[in-house]
Symmetry: C2
Subunit: 251 residues, 2 copies
């Protein structure tokens, strides 16, 4: 409760960098106000909702809690933000710990910070979500490491903390972005068949789509373009391969 010991800034209430008093009266910009709470600051974490499409289903990586609170429940992987690390870097670090992959689609979702969301202390968590191709993703399985698991995003077990709310919001955002961005291509290789693309969309939206309308729309929007390759997988007609066209008009 006592005043803190300064730390690595040069906050003073007089020159050379006078700070306006805050908190009761009128404050200036957040990045500038004083009465800096050097102790009793909330902790800042990132959580990363790692999503992939496997076997036609949208799945999320969860980690089992092996201690209280919420021991035994599943939760979204996360960790604290280091002092000198950007939020996105913290999310990438966490992502890399869990998946071994660093260079994937990663987007900030929302920041959850209600007091009491963690019963032990105040934790403000900046949630990111990541999209990774299933073939790039392998979860740690060493003994002693936490147990990770894929779960179908549309039938989740009870989750720890406010992580059910986080998942609801993640899926809402992902479905929304699917309609007016090209986010879906993050879950496919460079070349893909129309069926594979449609499977990704169907997995995310959790409903079937009409094959003809789906192809028509993506081709007319110039979002995808055919390559000169085809692919044979099974005793049936081979499939044309397509690639994403990054210069297409977005909706």
């Amino acid at each position: 409760m006592a005043a803190s010991t300064g730390a690595s800034t040069e906050i003073t209430l007089s020159s050379p960098s006078p700070q306006p008093t805050d908190d009761t009266g009128h404050a200036q910009s957040s990045s500038a106000s004083a009465e800096v709470p050097w102790q009793n600051r909330p902790a800042v974490a990132v959580d990363v909702v790692i999503l992939t499409v496997r076997e036609g289903r949208l799945e999320v990586v969860l980690v089992k809690r092996d201690h209280p609170p919420f021991e035994g429940l599943w939760s979204i992987p996360g960790g604290f933000v280091r002092y000198d690390e950007s939020l996105e870097d913290a999310a990438k670090r966490k992502l890399s710990e869990v998946t071994g992959v660093g260079d994937v689609y990663l987007e900030q979702l929302y920041t959850f910070g209600d007091p009491g969301r963690d019963p032990r202390m105040r934790v403000i968590t900046v949630v990111y979500y990541a999209l990774i191709r299933a073939d790039q993703l392998r979860l740690p399985e060493e003994p002693g490491s936490p147990s990770y698991q894929f779960c179908w995003a549309y039938d989740l077990p009870p989750l720890a903390f406010d992580h059910e709310e986080i998942m609801r919001y993640s899926l809402l955002r992902l479905r929304g972005k699917l309609e007016y961005t090209t986010i879906g291509f993050q879950l496919l290789a460079h070349e893909f068949t129309m069926s594979e693309l449609q499977d990704v969309y169907q997995a995310i939206l959790n409903r079937t789509l009409d094959k003809r309308n789906f192809r028509k729309k993506l081709l007319m929007m110039r979002t995808v373009e055919p390559t000169s390759h085809t692919r044979m997988v099974g005793p049936h007609r081979p499939a044309q391969l397509f690639r994403f066209n990054p210069h297409a008009a977005q909706s």
Copy 2:
């Protein structure tokens, strides 16, 4: 740099709430990991982008910085989050300080936290934006209080910190939400004329709209419905008053 003085939590590395070690190995959920950085935690702030429509223009409330860094530049109002206060409550508190109004539309926008965005220390700021009717909004003008000012959102002066980026993103989000939500009604009284509504849309989008198509769309979507009232303001035909219909389908 010295350790802080404990504060109001009960974090230990052993029972009764053992924490998993984090940071190098595999972490559990963010809301649970240890190596709690009791000192050197980033500060957490909220900034509030306060928007209104005045005289047909979308305007934002800015505050002038009267000390370094960025002394003399304008900035978005903000302040630190208290330990026991939700992020939204912190934003409401700041909003109330600046405007005297508490019960308005407020939505979380994005969290900005790059190290170095504030040259003095690590500040992670959760940005909210608020929509307030101009007639509800009066800025403090007492001597000694910071100087606040309305600025046209589409012709801003140079801003402090990363606040120009924050403004760009705010306007992008607001324009986006205008199309698929009823957010625009936050800037009008309970009853309003079509011209008033169109003015709000035009101010936010910063372009003119066709009167006939605008009316047609909002009436067909059942977003607005006529009341039995009219309003006379000038030597010309009186205007029908409409109200927002909260049960309309949200395209």
